[in-house]
C-alpha cells in the first residue's frame, strides 16, 4: 500500500493519493510508513523536475498533495515524528516580500523530512540570527527576487558572523537574479536555481 501511495503522488494523482491514504489509515497502517511513502514519491517528483519531465506546476501540486495527506495523517501520529534530517531557517530577506520560490523551498524541504522554520517575508538580519540561536539550525536559506536583496543577504551573513554563529551555519541563497557573482558578493556558501537544488544542498550540508 505505501508503494502505491508513492507512485500515486509521483504521478500527481491528488484524489487517488488522498483516497489511498484514507484507506490505509482505516486499516491501521503505520502512519509513519505513510509519511515515508509520501516522501519517496515527492523525491521522484524532484527527479522528474530535474530531468525536465516535470515543471513548476507538478512541483506545486506535489507539495499541495503532500500537505493535504499530512493533514489526514497527523491525528494518527500521536506525537510520533519521523526522524528529522536537520533544522533549517528560511526567509525572504529584508526589503523583499516575494515568496513564491521561498514557499516552494519550504514545502520541498518539509517533504524531505527537514524541520523548517519559515520566517516569512521582509526578514531582518537580526530575526535570522535570533531564530538560528533559538533552534540551533545549521542551515539558513535566504530568498530574494529584487536586486536590493543582495545587500540584505550580505548584511544577514555579516550579522551571523558578528553573532558568532557563522562557522557552524551553512547559508544558501536563491531567487531570480541570484547567481555565482551574487554568491561571492554576499559571502554565502551556495546558491540554488530551484527548490530541488535547495533540497540537494540541504542533504549535502545536513545529511
Amino acid at each position: 500500500m505505501p508503494d502505491n501511495i508513492s507512485s500515486l503522488i509521483a504521478e500527481i494523482e491528488e484524489e487517488q493519493t488522498l483516497e489511498a491514504v484514507r484507506e490505509a489509515l482505516s486499516r491501521e497502517t503505520d502512519p509513519l510508513s505513510l509519511v515515508a511513502a509520501l516522501r519517496d514519491g515527492v523525491a521522484v517528483v524532484g527527479e522528474r523536475f530535474e530531468s525536465k519531465e516535470y515543471f513548476l506546476p507538478e512541483l506545486i501540486m506535489a507539495g499541495e498533495i503532500f500537505k493535504e495527506a499530512i493533514n489526514l495523517i497527523d491525528p494518527y501520529l500521536k506525537g510520533e515524528t519521523s526522524d528529522s534530517r536537520g533544522t533549517v531557517v528560511v526567509g525572504t530577506v529584508q526589503g523583499d516580500i516575494h515568496d513564491i520560490g521561498k514557499n516552494l523551498v519550504v514545502t520541498m524541504l518539509r517533504c524531505n523530512a527537514f524541520e523548517v522554520h519559515d520566517l516569512g517575508i521582509d526578514v531582518a538580519p537580526e530575526a535570522f540570527v535570533e531564530k538560528v540561536r533559538e533552534t540551533g539550525a545549521r542551515l539558513v536559506g535566504m530568498s530574494g527576487l529584487l536586486t536590493l536583496a543582495f545587500d540584505a543577504m550580505k548584511n544577514t551573513v555579516e550579522a551571523l558572523e558578528e553573532a558568532g554563529l557563522r562557522d557552524r551555519t551553512k547559508i544558501i541563497i536563491g531567487g531570480g537574479p541570484i547567481n555565482e557573482t551574487v554568491l561571492k558578493y554576499c559571502r554565502a556558501d551556495a546558491y540554488g536555481k530551484d527548490p530541488t537544488e535547495a533540497v540537494r544542498l540541504a542533504n549535502s550540508y545536513l545529511g
Binding site: P57, P177, N179, T181
Partner: protein, 394 residues
Amino acid sequence: MKLLHEKDTMTTEERLQAVINLQVPDRVPCCPFIYYFAAFYAGITVYELWSEPSKYRMAMEKCLNELGPWDVYYPVNPRYPELYTFIMPMKAKWPGRELPVNSIHQLLEEEVIKVEDYEWIASLNKRIPRLTYIPFYLKIIGRAWDDIGEGWRTYSHMLPRLVRQLTTWRYEFEMMKRKGVTTLYGFLPEAAFDTFSLGRGLTNFVRDLRDRPEAVRLAAEELTEGYAFACRLITAITGVPRVEIFVHRSSNDFLSPKTFREVSFPSLKGLVDRLVADGIRCVLHLDGNWDLNLETLRELPAGNVVAQFDGPTDIFLAKEVIGDRICIMGDVPADMLCLASPTEVDEYCHRLIEGVGKGGGYIMGAGCEIPPNARAENVRAMIDSVTKYGYYQT
C-alpha cells in the same frame, strides 16, 4: 527627427524599424529599460518619481543627459498605482502608501480573478467582443485596490486617470522625439493567459491548468479581439504604432513547452497576428527561461516582432533559433549592472553585439529593467557600447 550621434546615418526611429524588419541598420540601437533607477540616480524618492510627472521628467532627462543619450525610450511610469495593474494584474504594495517612500513596489500573490470569471469572459465576449479589455481590467482593478470599490466606482475612479496617463505619455513621447529619441511602444498590456496566472494566484492557476485547461485557453482566446481593439485605440492616442506585450508567466520556469504551446501560445499568437495585420509591431517581454519555447515562437509573423529576454534564456541560442524571424533584445543581467566593473559590462556588451547583433535584428538592453541599485558607470558602459562596437561595416 535629428540624428543622435555624429556617425549615425539613421534616425533612432529608422534604426528601430530596420532592426524589427531584420535589416542591417547603421548601428545597433540601445534601449535601456529605466524606471526605478532614475529615482535613485536623480536623488528623488520612488514615490516622487511616479506620482509627480515633472520630477519623473527631470530624473529621466538627467539620466539621458549624463548617461546617454540612448536610442529608444522605454516608458514605464504609471501616474497612479492602480494603472500598474494593467501590466501586473495583482494586488500590490506601493511606495508612499503601504511601503516607505523609497521602496520598490511589491506584488501580492492573491486571487483577484475568480474561477467563475472564465465563463464571465465568454459571456462578455458574446455581448461586446471588441470592448472586453476595459470591463475585464476594471473588474480586476476594483478587486485589487480596496479603496476604489467595484462596479461603477471603478469606472468613475479609473477612466479620468487613464485619460491623464495617455495624455502624459503623448506629451512625453513628443518630448523624447524632439531630443532625437524614439519610443519603444504606445501601450503595454499583459498577455491574456499570463493575466490569469498573475490574477488567480499561482497555486489556483496551477489547479486551473490541471482541472480546466480548455477553459483557460478559450477564455484567453475570447479576450484577444478586445485586447487588439484596445491596443489599436490606445496606440492611436499615444502616437506610437507598437505594443509591448508582457508575458510574465509562460516561460519554462512556469510551464512545460507543451503547455505553453497548447494553452498559452494560441491567444498570444492570435493577438500578435491581429496587431501586425493592423500595422502595429509587437515587443514581447519574455521573463524567465524560454529555451524550450523558442521553436514555437518561430510561428510568429517574421519581421514584425521583438523578443526581449532577461537573462535566464540563452540569448545566443535564441539568435540561432529565431534570429531569422524575430528581432532580439537584451540581456545585460541585473547582477552585472549592480556588481560587475564597467570593463566587464563593456566586454559582455561587445560579445552581445558581435554574437546577437550579427546581421542586424538586435537591440542592446538590460535583461529586464535597469536595477535601482545599478552602478551608474555600468549603465553608461552598456549605453556607450553601441557607439563603440555597434556600427555595421557597409
